[in-house]
Amino acid sequence: MRFFVWLRPVAFLLVLLIAWEIAVRMHPGLILPGPIAAFAGIFELMHHGLLLKYAVASLFRVTWGFVLACITAIPLGLALGWRRRGEIALSPLIELFRPISPLAWIPIAILWFGVGDLSAIFLIYVACFFPLLITAMSAVHNIPAVYINAGRNFGLSATAFVARVLYPAVMPQLLVGMRITLGVAWLVVVAAEMIAVNSGLGFLIVDARNAGNRYDLVLAGMIAIGVIGLLLDLAMRSLEQMKSFRWRSSEE
């Protein structure tokens, strides 16, 4: 029974791919390469070692940008959420920066860091910083007062309170915010790589088009981006499922 449940989306995908291939063969000419060409493109890229190299390059940038944003934005957001006065003071500034697309920073990034990894990492950092900051602040606001009072009642030191009440209490909401933000980072890295660097999956897509309209490789790059994005999301979701983290969803 389980097998059939799994089979359904796979069968649907297969039908779709076959229909795509048939459609492409019936109307030759460059609208879109067929799936066979796209998968051939993936194998070609793998054969040259480019797919792995570019995927690693993109993941490297995303990891650095995301991790740096986590270790700066989350503590700051928690602190601001806890001390409302700080939040009130900083919120106009935050609200001003937040709607600026991270891609608008590309010229500044190139001005400051040149064309290269640092620029891309900076752009991902900017893209992740504000969503994480806001998530952390609202996570603190949403802590039930009961947990805070219970924590205070047992006479914890400030550090112990943060580690044993504040941090676990915000964790479920924080993880959801981190998962969504990582998705954004993965979107942004592709765009950033199209302009600010000479490697990575975003660069691959632009390069394949520029160097001879290799749309099969463009599609191959897109498929790789989709698959890796899916895997990142699954990885974050599995983190959310951990028992000591997912308490909120299971209690309510």
């Binding site: 205070r152 047992f154 112990a160 028992k243 983290f245 299971s250 209690e251």
Partner: protein, 262 residues
């Protein structure tokens, strides 16, 4: 027996907890709202006190002031002659619901306040209180796997584990169904009789108060003042159909201004 009492009894001012001219005024939208007013109260060591009153009258406010979670606008609370200025692990407040930490297991919750102890001592205490509140077999379970009654027992265990002088309970069984509530009262009495702490128990349930308390503090409607203090002179276990029980219960219902015929 007399000796045991003599060992427990000597306290600086003769009382465990003393509230003097206690008042709390909330300010909202520039208006002053008195929640409690002129509360004078003395609680003896080991006593089981119930605070009853109409809903919204300020029972919880009074409890929060005694627990140190809320500063009074006037007057003071002293415990063992020492003025209460904030929450303290010597007096633990048990909340109505959601008071246990859902990210910790039963063991983790009971051990929450015990990080200053050695590992063996901590484990010994956790085992003792797991036993006391009858949660054996659930040591590794998370609160989400427990029933409402089990969660409240867990909260009481976590409170008792740090060896507090006073236990404040804020309608601890209010969110439970009526059958579980009756069972929990029995459990609380059993625990109180073995552990002998001072207990201050807020409830809006008259029967609950008459079944549990040594003395019942009846509060008036807002701003809450002490309307009457009713000692319950029935020994435990209490027969809830005895004439004396019914008499006290009726008197309290009248005090609160409730009709006792429906």
């Amino acid at each position: 027996m007399a000796l045991a009492q003599a060992v427990v009894a000597p306290i600086k001012n003769g009382y465990k907890l003393r509230a003097e001219q206690l008042g709390v005024v909330y300010t909202s939208d520039g208006k002053n709202l008195a929640a409690i007013e002129d509360i004078n109260l003395e609680i003896k060591d080991g006593e089981f006190i119930c605070i009853v009153g109409p809903s919204g009258c300020g029972k919880s406010t009074l409890l929060n002031v005694m627990g140190g979670f809320l500063s009074p606008t006037s007057g003071s609370v002293t415990i063992d002659g020492e003025r209460v200025t904030g929450p303290d692990r010597r007096r633990i407040l048990v909340f109505q619901e959601r008071g246990v930490f859902p990210w910790l297991t039963v063991e983790g919750n009971i051990g929450f306040g015990l990080s200053n102890l050695s590992r063996e001592e901590r484990e010994r205490r956790i085992a003792h209180y797991v036993q006391l509140v009858r949660l054996q077999g659930f040591e590794k379970a998370y609160p989400s796997d427990l029933s409402g009654g089990m969660r409240q027992r867990l909260q009481v265990a976590r409170a008792l584990a740090v060896d507090p002088d006073i236990l404040f309970l804020d309608e601890p069984f209010g969110a439970l169904d009526s059958i579980t509530r009756v069972i929990m009262r029995g459990e609380l009495l059993r625990i109180w009789q073995t552990e002998r702490r001072t207990v201050v128990f807020v409830t809006h349930d008259i029967d609950e108060a008459v079944q549990l308390a040594d003395r019942i503090i009846v509060l008036s409607s807002r701003p809450a003042r002490i309307q009457q203090i009713v000692p319950i002179d029935i020994p435990h276990p209490r027969n809830i159909s005895s004439p004396r029980y019914l008499e006290l219960r009726d008197e309290l219902l009248k005090q609160i201004g409730l009709a006792y015929e429906i």
